[in-house]
Symmetry: C2
Subunit: 402 residues, 2 copies
């Protein structure tokens, strides 16, 4: 039965290729009715999707809302003076941010870029350290409130300057979680803070205290990175935090031997620790297919978009799926579908989203585009899309509506 | 002086960021006049570019016009039964092509995809072997004639099934060059034909006989690939063919030691042998920056677009520049400009194009798009573009006009 306030979408193409009519009531799918062939729409109140592919809104699983210059003046990248050094980069970032447009405005530009391309759930890391204190957190918390109707945002209190090596940071992280951050972050416990145990004691201590999730930036390579992943998995199990912990980047998983990777995959699956990769361009990264085979939740994000770390990023998670496939050598349909899963269902699992998907009872957050099926969408990356939030069109062809 | 038949483009942003008015006479730039600031256009016959960035049309340096299924039915990728095998792949391709739309139609789809994104010069490899004879060549030669006003196409007679291991192929290649192919191709002299000298004797013998260029597919890795590159360079010098020879893919250059690479770069620069890479996703590839530093012309192409070899490819050489930069770790402005050079000026040099560029006397083949400068265009890859051939708009936002 269709109530007067319901919205009906006719002739949607579902990811399995079949056609269906979708009914949305109170922002959720209340009916999904298979149809044999496209029907002529006679009801003026019905939106005819005309066979467009309907997929769940994308999950932007790793972004930095506070530090992008997207929509602001172009700021040329400057390399570190002598090899890559996080501290030098953070100092460069501080100088660049001081000259930039207000953070709230830049965050809004980035949010609209992401929503415009179809992401309606997001996890953003926000910098906390002795120099900026909680200023970034406070600003982005306010931005989140303002955009709550449009996009679901999880915030990670991110210790950009380390925890042990940046005095006062444990207290700031504690405060950030009180203020409303959902997760606590971390940054290379070994190479940055030089104390894996000390670093993780703070991270998991605060997570336990606040019932918060964990999402740690880990760039350390090879067996060093693997060692830290093992420590994170062990603590996750010990605290019963399965499903609430992620490791972002985890480059080390990309350059260890196949047998070590196999064991790591089993361990991560068992501990319920998810892995985030943006499929970097010139760096080894976690093998997506092998980890998925082991049962690990692999999700993705844009990471930096035009900031002090690099100039790339377009906020388009469908293009990210393309890149994941391209970098992983995914050619077959089921592989292209796996790349798509990374930016949709797997992302929803990693973020613990409620009511995700194209299913009766799920939130009607979806994207419609001209594509025959998911594999074609992943290779073609059609930019012409309509983004629906709770059944209402909010963006079209990359631009916000209304 | 502006003749009545001239076209004037006002307020063009040149790659260096300055504004200029462009005059086009008989399909070529006849004047480029710097302007201090954007002028109000009063002449109805003048096209106001309104500050859009104007860049030379892109050079698609490696594509297969005969084998794509773009615009045809989706044909799922099927892996080889036991590791990668070129012969098995060619057999799969033959089955797929037999079921596909006519080749001329598929070639047209691919051409319009490329022109729509701004490529107005192209080098296409076209398959020649004992099974298809000269059929592909004849079809694509006819397509080239039909599209001559729209795009400049060089054709390579490409021995897809080898030369020595496919009886009759040397004679077919000879015939293909007589019919109008501009270059002779080759395919892994070592790993495929098992006879480097024998393979190259045929290739360079026919090139010398016909005054044709050479562009060889070389996938062989490491020192094996390097050995073949050395042989190609030596023959190029011996025959005085500097500037007329290219090696496509040259994966081997991506996995040799730095000192060997440095020597290889000097040798290639000295021999005037260009290197084509499409910046593959999951494979080592020639180091673009190091080779450019050595003076080597590095150009690029889409390679396969949705064919029996892989499902990727969008025919957008600006997106290819983005991928070259992303895969190469190019972050600084001058590096992003280098990635752009690979798909423009370096491509023009590799193909030996006459009258290329935004300069008085050059052909008015250009692309206008909303971007502040070249580095921003490379990271943003704006899809909204207008493509001009001889000063006339032929495509907009990816679609052909008129």
């Amino acid at each position: 039965m269709t109530a007067p306030s319901d919205t009906r979408f006719a002739n949607a193409r579902l990811p399995d290729g079949s056609l269906a009519d979708l009914t949305v009531s109170d922002g959720r799918f209340s009916a999904i009715t298979p149809v044999k062939e496209a029907s002529a729409v006679i009801d003026a109140a019905t939106i005819d999707l005309a066979g467009e592919l309907v997929v769940p809104a994308f999950v932007e699983g790793h972004i930095h809302l506070d530090t992008s210059f997207y929509g602001d003046a172009w700021r040329p990248h400057i390399p570190c003076t002598d090899g890559f050094d996080v501290r030098e980069r953070v100092a460069f970032q501080a100088r660049s941010l001081a000259a930039a447009a207000p953070m709230a405005e830049r965050a809004k530009n980035q949010l609209e870029l992401c929503v415009g391309h179809g992401s309606l759930a997001m996890r953003s890391h926000v910098m906390v350290d002795g120099s900026v204190g909680l200023k970034h957190i406070e600003t982005i918390l306010a931005v989140r409130e303002k955009y709550r109707a449009l996009i679901d945002i999880q915030l990670v209190a991110f210790p950009q300057s380390g925890i042990l090596s940046s005095p006062g940071t444990p207290e700031l992280l504690d405060e950030a979680l009180k203020l409303g951050c959902d997760l606590i972050g971390g940054l290379d416990p070994a190479s940055f803070d030089r104390d894996v145990k000390g670093h993780l004691d703070v991270v998991f201590g605060l997570a336990h205290k606040h019932g918060a999730g964990v999402d740690i930036h880990l760039h350390d390579g090879g067996l060093l990175g693997l060692f830290e992943v093992e420590e994170i998995a062990a603590r996750t199990k010990a605290l019963g935090m399965q499903g609430h912990v992620a490791v972002s980047h985890a480059y080390g998983l990309g350059d260890i031997a196949a047998d070590a990777l196999e064991k790591a995959g089993e361990m991560l699956a068992d501990a319920g620790v998810a892995i985030m990769t943006n499929a970097p361009g010139n760096h080894a990264f976690p093998p997506v297919a092998a980890l998925r085979r082991a049962g690990v939740t692999v999700f993705s994000g844009s990471d930096n978009i035009r900031d002090s770390w690099w100039p790339y990023g377009d906020g388009d998670m469908l293009n990210r799926a393309n890149m994941i496939g391209y970098r992983s050598g995914f050619y077959e349909d089921h592989e292209l579908e796996a790349a798509f899963d990374v930016v949709t269902d797997a992302g929803a699992r990693a973020l613990g989203l409620e009511g995700y998907g194209i299913a009766v009872g799920a939130k009607a957050d979806f994207v419609a585009m001209r594509a025959e099926h998911v594999p074609e969408a992943v290779v073609a990356v059609p930019k012409a899309r309509t983004v629906y939030r709770a059944g209402r069109a909010v963006a079209r062809d990359g631009s916000m509506l209304g």
